[in-house]
């Protein structure tokens, strides 16, 4: 099923991850319409091209997030939701929070 309009979602960053996104903790974004469904996998690629301001290797490693960065979709652990394969829905809130900062 293809999506005609863009997909509106909220991206949030915490624990220092926001530094790589213009020091902004909350981003309202509209993902462009695409063939098939948006997944976290394709979202990460899109973020790398459109949102990441610097040092992509500190956020993305391979096709996934750097180890130590937690991902929550609507306040739930993405590990329970299929991780990279989770299909994003309109109005989803996706939080990336880094645990790499010491005590």
């Amino acid at each position: 099923m293809s999506q005609q309009q863009g997909l509106e979602i909220t991206l949030e960053f915490g624990g220092g991850a926001e530094l790589l996104f213009g020091n902004l903790k909350k981003h309202q974004v509209t993902l462009p319409a695409c063939e098939g469904k948006w997944t976290i996998r394709s979202l990460l690629t899109w973020m790398k091209d459109n949102l990441l301001k610097e040092r992509p290797e500190l956020f993305i490693q391979g096709e996934t997030v750097r180890p130590g960065i937690l991902v929550l979709v609507n306040d739930a652990d993405w590990e329970l939701l299929g991780q990279l394969d989770y299909e994003i829905e309109a109005k989803d809130n996706i939080l990336f929070i880094s645990t790499l900062h010491g005590g």
């Binding site: 130590g68 010491g102 005590g103």
Partner: protein
């Protein structure tokens, strides 16, 4: 780990990677709510309420079973602005607001350390951070204080200041300069991070004493401590690792450093702060935006995080192992000051064995610095005094005759019959443990060390000189 995977016939299977478990639709604790977090250490998916109860229970049981907390205790909780340290304050606050018999009886004060000077952060930004920090602490109603990293250079006067809504950062220009010099003086990021860790520890102890607190709480999680273990081993701090990662660091006689979050992972503590919508302020530190291979600490971090990702159960194995590796002769309780490292208060173990790794390192440093043709049978007796590579004894005897220049900028009387001398590398290194020596080795000169440390070197050296000079009379 290994023993768990041993097959019956004695053969070993490969370590299990992360398996995709099929999760039930409901929380595995209450069997009614939808699960929202996967906790790998216990292979469970919990709903929000059960998870928060689990964290709270872990925190309380860690404190409870230690049997260390007394009702009369005043605890100084270290707060950095991070989600993790905010979670610690929230857990403490929850414990203090419990009903009668479950309530924590000890008192809590909060300390924030401003480290902006070493990063060159502007004074406006540092003040803004300070006020944001005070805003967070205010919600809990804890009495709070701040101090600066540079206060380590101050000899007298109070170093902790009350933190209230409109606090402005009080800094002393010259100690700030000294702190900046010290960090400029240390070349590698590895040594700088290690130095910062040792200084922070000193600040905790110094502030706790000033504020009459007998315990310091830090928000290190089991994940952080697994990283510390690998870093400690790599930095030659294996013998003190036990103190760096166990529930209580007992090195200081009057103030204990306690790690009440050590049974929780960074993931658990972070989720706790997200679910409670705890505010956090990210204050950059030395390792901010550094790549993962920029220092030993960052590499250990990357390694542990990757383990966590791919072999989650191994992280607790790293941590449990480190916790158990206390060596029998590392308890300092009955040691005198004379026997302790001047930087980290670890018992000095560096002059024991004839073939220790300390000597091997020193020797190889010396040989490497001389180059292939430089070494002959006179080398050891001709150690140049600029060479930082010390073969302790030879270098010492050389320095006794060459370092007679006066330390004009110091007014400290060392009590010995010679003039106060400029301290050489060997003088300082002799009084450091193996790990701290590596920091010193990385420095351009020793004079930028805090006066409190230099003072100890002078006192102990003059004592030694005195002992030497009266030796002939002691028969």
């Amino acid at each position: 780990m290994c023993s768990r995977n041993d097959e019956e016939d004695g053969s070993q299977s490969l370590m299990e990677g992360k398996t995709k478990l099929t999760w039930t639709e409901v929380c595995q604790k209450c069997s009614t709510e939808k699960p929202v977090i996967q906790i790998l250490q216990i292979k469970h998916a919990y709903c929000r309420n059960c998870f928060l109860a689990h964290v709270n229970h872990k925190f309380r049981s860690t404190l409870g079973k230690s049997k260390m907390m007394k009702p009369s205790d005043v605890v100084l909780a270290a707060f950095s602005g991070s989600g993790k340290s905010n979670a610690m304050l929230h857990l403490l606050h929850a414990g203090l607001s419990e009903q009668s018999h479950k309530r924590f009886l000890f008192k809590v004060q909060v300390l924030y350390i401003d480290e902006g000077a070493i990063l060159g952060t502007s004074l406006e930004d540092r003040t803004a951070n300070l006020q944001a920090i005070s805003g967070i602490i205010e919600q809990y109603g804890f009495k709070s204080y701040y101090t600066t990293l540079a206060s380590i250079f101050e000899e007298t006067g109070s170093k902790c200041f009350p933190l209230v809504k409109d606090s402005t950062l009080k800094i002393k220009e010259n100690s700030e300069e000294e702190l900046k010099n010290l960090f400029l003086n240390v070349k590698s990021l590895t040594a700088r991070e290690d130095l910062l860790r040792q200084l922070r520890r000193k600040i905790f102890l110094q502030s706790a004493k000033e504020l009459d607190c007998c315990k310091v709480f830090t928000a290190n999680t089991s994940t952080d401590l697994a990283i510390h273990i690998l870093t400690d081993v790599s930095l030659g701090r294996g013998s003190q690792m036990h103190h760096d990662v166990s529930f209580c660091d007992p090195r200081d006689a009057s103030v204990k450093i306690i790690r009440p979050l050590l049974e929780l992972s960074s993931k658990e503590v972070t989720y706790y702060s997200v679910f409670h919508e705890l505010e956090s302020i990210y204050i950059p530190s030395l390792c901010t935006k550094a790549s993962s291979d920029s220092s030993i600490h960052n590499m250990s971090k990357q390694f542990v995080m990757e383990l966590m990702e791919n072999f989650p159960s191994t992280v607790s194995t790293v941590f449990r192992t480190g916790e158990k590796l206390g060596s029998t002769n590392t308890t300092n309780t009955c040691e005198t000051e004379d026997n302790l490292c001047i930087i980290c208060q670890m018992k000095l173990d560096v002059s024991v064995a004839a073939c220790s790794s300390v000597q091997a390192t020193d020797f190889s440093r010396l040989i490497s610095s001389l180059g292939p043709a430089g070494f002959d049978n006179k080398t050891l007796s001709q150690l140049p005094d600029t060479s930082k590579g010390i073969l302790s004894n030879q270098a010492d005897s050389l320095l006794c005759s060459s370092s007679t220049s006066c330390c004009s900028d110091s007014d400290v009387q060392c009590g010995c019959h010679k003039d106060v001398q400029r301290l050489s590398f060997p003088d300082v290194e002799k009084l450091c443990c193996y790990g701290c020596r590596l920091i010193i080795h990385d420095m351009e000169n020793t004079s930028s060390l805090p006066e409190s440390i230099l003072h100890k070197v002078r006192t102990r050296r003059s004592l030694e000189n005195m002992r030497e000079s009266i030796q002939d009379f002691l028969l």
